[in-house]
Symmetry: C2
Subunit: 190 residues, 2 copies
DNA sequence: GTCTATAGGAAGATAGAC
DNA sequence: GTCTATCTTCCTATAGAC
């Protein structure tokens, strides 16, 4: 083997993720990505021969794993539903920095390459999150139809509040959304 | 004066808007915009000396006028609240092609130039839409706090459902969102 | 007002030394 | 595995003819 890695895979993915989330797929130039990673462009190509698209795919895959471990397993666990919801939403609040950071799924769904390349994984992640929310809503006593609806509404509120937060520069819609999601999933007045 | 306009201002703005909505600000290259307009790049610069950013600003301004005429004036009109909501949501359904077309505000809020350039107008448009929704919710009998909350939730659902629709390629979340917004604004079970 | 032509630079991507 | 150097393509933007 040659020289040692200047940055390990986990840390590298973390920096690439941050860049994609900040500026979106198109604006994330290789120069920008390389700078974030502390590497030169050619080194990035060594790690990801497929270029930017492969980087985005890897970032998406790691985000999917994060979702599974930190959100889905919590939502579908076996504690009291209220506790599971609270824990998952707290994790999301932290992950999105209280509304100050955008969602990767939205930022990768813009552009021209997108329409075909990222749709399958994005779809899967949305579907899984909906299933997780629906599970905890059912466990909280809501019927099948109500749970399904509350879960889909929760994802809409999450994404919509992040769009508002980013568009206006005011993160407060995100906190409001988390409250609405909490009530909606637990069947309190919605 | 020289040669006649090959495309009038309204039609030109319409085509530029469509391109920005389809691919977002960064991916909307001058070549793509020129092709959509049926003009050469140099001709676009003649109409918009400030280049792409000025085009986006003009597109945003025209969208703001459209919002005022077709949505705000309907929401704040003086017919029965239920009728106003139905009319406004039908117009939105048509405008977003049932969830198949993205929202300009979201597509322009990505990228690197954005953060400073478009935020003021985007913020204004979100605020106005919220005020319009809140007005009709109040007229439907909800109190001030409920109306304000329902209005903000409506915008979140609108944006979030469009993000889901675009990310997954399935427009159905948008129709669900319109139904939720209808109920929420009129104070039916939410 | 639109066009052709082109400048000047940044983009994605590769070759090959170390 | 990382680097410097380079290639090609596409980008934004301008000059100037008609």
């Amino acid at each position: 083997m040659g020289r040692a890695q200047a940055i390990n895979d986990d840390e590298l993915l973390k920096q690439l993720t941050a860049t994609f989330r900040e500026v979106g797929y198109e604006a994330a130039s290789l120069s920008l990505l390389a700078e974030a990673a502390g590497l030169k462009k050619a080194s990035l190509y060594h790690r990801f021969p497929g270029g930017k698209e492969e980087m985005a795919q890897a970032v998406l895959r790691s985000a999917s794993e994060w979702l599974d471990v930190h959100i889905l397993q919590v939502l579908e666990g076996d504690g009291p539903p209220e506790e599971r919801v609270t824990r998952a939403l707290d994790t999301l609040r932290n992950f999105y920095a209280g509304g100050k950071q955008a969602c990767l799924l939205n930022m990768l769904a813009a552009g021209h390459i997108t329409r075909n390349a990222f749709t399958p994984m994005i779809t899967t992640m949305f579907d899984q999150l909906i299933l997780g929310f629906a599970k905890v809503a059912r466990d909280a006593g809501q019927d099948e139809a109500q749970s399904r609806m509350a879960a889909r509404r929760a994802v809409m509120l999450l994404q919509g509040s992040l769009v508002m937060a980013r568009g206006t520069g005011d993160p407060s819609p995100f906190d409001e959304a988390l409250e609405m999601i909490h009530s909606s999933l637990l069947g309190e007045g919605a």
